[in-house]
């Protein structure tokens, strides 16, 4: 039995992790220095979720993938130039801040509202995917709140694998402590999965996929709903970079024997 899933992937736009990030205090609270100038990417774990969604859709005929993403319109436009070439999806864009200092509850409310507004959504076929944490707020809280708002109580976080059984049940591997995985069986959709790395490599850019996606991406960006995140009740006392510079002692002229002895003594100390 093959089920045609409706897979909604929640994502956000984040600064390229390779950039230097520096906090500043803006009129609305903490922000990043030159935030709008920083090159952006689709959040890495949300990207894994998107690739897994596309793979599942490919193997489940009739399935469809939506990407519901929150971020500034201009950043979305930049990010979609790459992401849209990876896998087929329909974009639902929300025009709002992508800052890590925004409140998870408010972000979840905006994402859940956007999901509920997708025409023809059938909860019995619904799988909500996302990254288990973002590279910005990094809280690992938003997806659970989205699930609650959608009434989904079969939720999984740190997912590395999803298998669909012949009867439509789901077998899910979640990361737990100590490098182990918990294996769970779920009766079927609806379910929410916060993905960790998964098992799929990043797909190569495919211009044909890009062409098809861009037909919906540009209109989606034009009608992106503005989202205001007030951060009500949240007060930051400080945001700072850690004092991380250590006085590194450089040992250049010792033999491997001597270095080994020194390290073993240090380990055993």
């Amino acid at each position: 039995m093959s089920i045609a899933y409706q897979i909604v992937v929640c994502g956000s736009v984040v600064p390229d992790p390779l950039q230097t990030l520096e906090p500043v205090t803006g009129p609305g609270g903490p922000a990043l220095k030159n935030e709008m100038m920083l090159p952006a990417i689709l959040d890495p774990w949300a990207s894994h979720a998107l690739y897994e969604a596309a793979n599942l859709a490919k193997n489940s005929p009739g399935s469809k993938v939506w990407l519901v993403s929150l971020g500034p319109k201009a950043k979305h436009q930049q990010v979609m130039m790459t992401v849209a070439q990876k896998v087929p999806f329909e974009l639902v864009a929300l025009d709002g801040p992508a800052s890590g200092f925004t409140e998870a509850m408010e972000v979840a409310a905006a994402l859940a509202e956007a999901i509920q507004a997708i025409p023809g959504l059938d909860k019995s076929k619904l799988l909500v995917f996302g990254g288990w944490e973002s590279a910005s707020r990094g809280a690992g809280a938003t997806m659970q709140m989205v699930g609650e708002r959608l009434g989904i109580t079969d939720q999984f976080q740190g997912v590395d694998e999803l298998k669909i059984a012949a009867d439509g049940s789901l077998e899910i591997l979640e990361r737990i402590e100590g490098g182990k995985h918990q294996i769970s069986k779920c009766a079927g959709a609806p379910a929410l999965l916060g993905w960790a790395t998964g098992n799929l490599p990043e797909p190569k850019n495919n211009p044909q996929v890009g062409m098809v996606n861009m037909r919906t991406v540009m209109p989606a960006l034009q009608k992106a709903k503005p989202v205001k995140l007030a951060g009500e009740g949240l007060s930051f006392a400080s945001v700072s970079l850690p004092k991380q510079l250590r006085e590194t002692k450089i040992v250049k002229d010792k033999s491997a024997d001597d270095i080994a002895k020194e390290i073993v003594e240090w380990i055993k100390k």
Binding site: I176, S240, R246
Partner: protein, 345 residues
């Protein structure tokens, strides 16, 4: 007046994890700092009496418990129902819990149900002029913030390893049982097992004294113009067996498996530390053949003493980040280290 609830679950063997005692420490810190506050304990598991007794000497005024077979497994629907019921019974305004995989999965959702807020990866709690404040990291451990919140209940999930475990003694705790009747739609998911590496292949050890970080240099061409991946594997495996260190890896080394390059067979994304990996906490860290600048080095942000072995004296991973940088060939040094460790056995 704040009611501070320490919310914990039992482990598979019925015990209380060290991370729960660390969260208890944070809860007690808040309790002591906030005048007029009270501390209560909530427990979830198949049987909770033994766990409650094990911390009965702590200054909690009440103990709440949800127990039964349905609450033995780590499952969102049942855990959410149990946590929600305890929070309501305790009328908790602040909920302090260990950031275990089980609670991290469910408590933000419970905060949503109760109209509260949730903060995870919390590394410190304090009094900010009569109000509770927390410290946590943003942008993958690259900047630290201190914040307060007006909303209640406020769920505070404390990162394991960030607090000293509370060693309050045992006694007899009187538990107020909270009844939770799970409807069938909360039983759609069943935990069927745990997948773990074989004992001799276990490379992630959260409680290890030492984190051993391997970089992509192990699989690159060496001085003779050849790669020596099998030898690298033997050295690293040997060191892990002798030292009982936990193994971390740079992203570039883990990613090589997806790029068709030579890889260390025992490494997976679970070993990855840094930007899109974990940031483990260990007293000591030894990195070998690692390269890269700031974004990559957050992987050992929470390692206290750090040493590195690299052929590059200007290595951005080590300079200014490690306490000692040995400019040397890691193959030669690790071989000698293994000999010395083996001789000490």
């Amino acid at each position: 007046m704040e009611t501070i609830l320490l919310l914990a679950h039992t482990e598979a063997d019925g015990s209380l994890a060290k991370s729960a005692r660390e969260a208890l420490r944070a809860a007690r810190t808040l309790n002591q700092a906030l005048a007029g506050s009270s501390l209560v304990v909530g427990l979830v598991g198949e049987n909770v009496q033994a766990v409650a007794d094990s911390i009965a000497a702590c200054p909690a005024t009440k103990y709440f418990g949800v127990a039964g077979k349905d609450f033995a497994q780590s499952r969102y629907a049942s855990d959410a129902a149990a946590a929600e019921a305890i929070c309501k019974s305790a009328q908790a305004t602040i909920v302090v819990a260990p950031a275990t995989s089980r609670w991290a999965r469910v408590l933000p959702g419970v905060a949503q149900r109760l109209g509260g807020r949730a903060d995870t990866h919390v590394t410190g709690v304090a009094d900010a002029g009569g109000k509770p404040a927390i410290s946590r990291w943003y942008y993958r451990q690259r900047m630290e913030a201190t914040l307060t919140r007006a909303q209640r209940p406020w769920f505070i999930l404390v990162d394991p390893g960030s607090q000293t475990a509370c060693e309050c003694g045992a006694g007899t705790a009187k538990i107020e049982t909270v009844a939770v009747n799970l409807p069938d739609n909360c039983k759609r998911t069943t935990v069927v097992g745990i997948r773990e590496p074989k004992a001799d292949a276990q490379t992630i050890r959260p409680d290890a004294e030492l984190l051993f970080v391997t970089g992509a240099g192990w699989t690159k061409k060496q001085a003779d113009g050849q790669t020596h991946v099998p030898e690298a594997e033997k050295l690293i495996r040997g060191f892990l067996q002798l030292s009982r260190a936990s193994l971390g890896s740079s992203k570039s080394l883990v990613d090589q498996s997806g790029e068709g390059q030579a890889v260390l067979s025992f490494l997976s994304h679970l070993n990855q530390i840094g930007q899109t990996g974990s940031t483990p906490r260990h007293p000591k860290g030894l990195s070998t053949c690692c390269h890269g600048e700031e974004p990559h080095t957050v992987g050992w942000r929470f390692i206290n003493e750090r040493r590195a072995i690299s052929l590059d004296p200007n290595c951005g991973w080590a300079r200014g980040k490690a306490d000692v940088l040995y400019v040397a060939d890691a193959f030669a040094v690790m071989g000698k280290i293994n000999e010395l460790l083996a001789a000490r056995k």
